[in-house]
Amino acid sequence: MGTIIKLDPVTRLEGHLKIEVEIDGSNKVVNAHSTGNMFRGFEKILVGRDPRDAVHLTQRICGLCPVSHAIASVKAIENAFGFKANNDAIVLRNLIQGSNFLSDHILQFYHLSVLDYVKGPEKSPWVPGYDIDMRLTAAETQAVINNYIKALEIRRKAHEMAAILSGKIPHVMSIVPGGVTKVPLSTDITKFKTYLTDVKAFIDNVYMNDVNLIAEKYSDYYSVGKGVGNLLTFGVFDTDTSGNTLFRRGTYKNGIIGTIDPLKVKEFTKYSWYSDDSGNRNPSDGKTDVMYAKTGAYSYLKAPRYDGEVYELGPLARMIINGEYTGNISVMDRHMARALETKKLAGQMVIWANMMTTSMKPYTQLKLPTSGVGIGLTEAPRGALGHWLNFSSQRTTNYQIITPTCWNASPRDDFGKMGAIEQALIGVTIADITKPIELLRIVHSFDPCTGCSVHVIDSEKNIKSEFVVSTPNPMGVL
């Protein structure tokens, strides 16, 4: 057995992901394991509740893409009800979800990825980092770090945009089965457009320049981290009421674009800490029975597959399948496609923003049927997201969610095929095994997020009694 390198946790991503690779005598990665080590059992909470509760509860799963969960959930419910949201609702939903995409892509580049390529100042939150293979000049570095700070302000504006139309931040309140409950006021429309102008200018002039600069200096990363080579997207941003989307749904395999049949999505659990009976199932009939310490298993993530094959998800998948990106599949192609998608989307949002009026009628009252089955497919910024719902006697009987990181960071499936990130790590040569920056660059390019969980502040040592202001009364009486 060769040398093992572990990244535990992989830094600069939301949540907790462990990567373990094995290298040969020439420091080339020959084996890889990706481990999601947080159990996600939120779906069980939904069972027995009114199916409409899922819109607000599933948003709470993730702090990064609550909007996409709201959209997937509302689509699953409307699909079960046999309802289609009208054009006014579509425009408002697109603007809310689009704002989240802009904010999240800028976050992914500047705040989660840039430090893999640019040396930050010698102070928190920029240290510690791997300070090797930094190729920008001092002046270029300073410029990018200034933009890192500017990007915080821009993200805040994108966040405001979503808040203007969603009523409450950060969990959106206005997206409900039946449409959108908030009709914009004229001041909302003006404010939204002002923010969008600033955000769009930043994307066009700053973000694009910085991505181009890094892509130029690190052009060798256009041939690093290819991985499986298959791409998949569920499509996102409805453009009409008959199911057409700005980014169309599809697969990409051996250079051929294919269509998607949701019944061909299956999750496998041979290498996951779930019972074997939880595996080999379509999510409409999904099951999540935990079985920690199962022999051979190494992750809390299941292994979702399409038609038995491994697929990579994300902006690169959307852009290639949509014919908007003609490059290849690699670390740098992922960054480039994400930036170009951000630019395209911001441009499209100007058009949608101009469709907003104070006389929109985006909401239709719906009556809850007794029973139903629904699928909600959309995209989170980091890839395809699906919600599957079953209910009877007006109560949810099963709810299953497959997040994009589940696909990308998945462990091996029942056929022994590695997940997308695992495959992308194979073959890369690590220059300095004490600072395996190549691994970070590959993992970050997928924008993984497993942050669907706890946010308790955890102190390193016991807090001194001087900071205690109240102790619980053992009788429970105040």
């Binding site: 969990h171 308790v456 807090i463 619980p472």
Partner: protein, 153 residues
């Protein structure tokens, strides 16, 4: 002085949701001139709270090693001493957002009111022990707000 109470945590995870429950309770009262924010777990998106306010109380579950239900009060600076250096490169924590605001030139005063959780598990609602402490925690939040208001006059 612009004041805000920011509750963070996950209501789907038992006691982790305490911050949100506090916000929900405070929303029933007539608090004048105070922004009440349900931050959920969207830590990375809360930057504007620290830019738009001068004084922020963060209510969260806090594992500080005392009995479940114990309430702690610390400033952001006090809290910093209890967190491993540079956690920002790992899970993004709320204190890093306070730092980000500083880089943008905003330095609001931040008080953390934390409560020791009993259970963090997949369930909606608080354990009885924290439910019993909820009125006390709310009282402390209100006392803090009042004190700040007096200081202004």
């Amino acid at each position: 002085m612009k004041r805000a109470v920011l509750g963070i945590g996950n209501i789907l995870l038992h006691d982790d949701g305490i911050g949100i429950h506090v916000i929900n309770e405070l929303e029933k009262e007539e608090l004048v001139g105070v922004d009440l924010i349900d931050g959920g777990t969207a830590i990375l998106d809360l930057l504007d709270i620290f830019i738009n306010n001068d004084y922020i109380i963060i209510v969260d579950s806090l594992k500080g090693g005392h009995e479940p239900g114990t309430i702690y009060k610390l400033s952001a600076e006090d809290m910093d001493g209890y967190i491993k250096g540079n956690t920002s490169l790992h899970d993004v924590q709320i204190l890093d957002i306070v730092k980000q605001a500083k880089y943008l030139g905003f330095c609001p005063q931040v008080t953390i009111l934390g409560i020791e959780p009993e259970k963090i598990d997949y369930e909606i609602g608080l354990t009885d022990r924290l439910k019993n402490q909820l009125p006390q925690l709310i009282k402390i939040v209100k006392d803090e707000l009042e004190e700040k208001e007096k200081c202004q006059v």
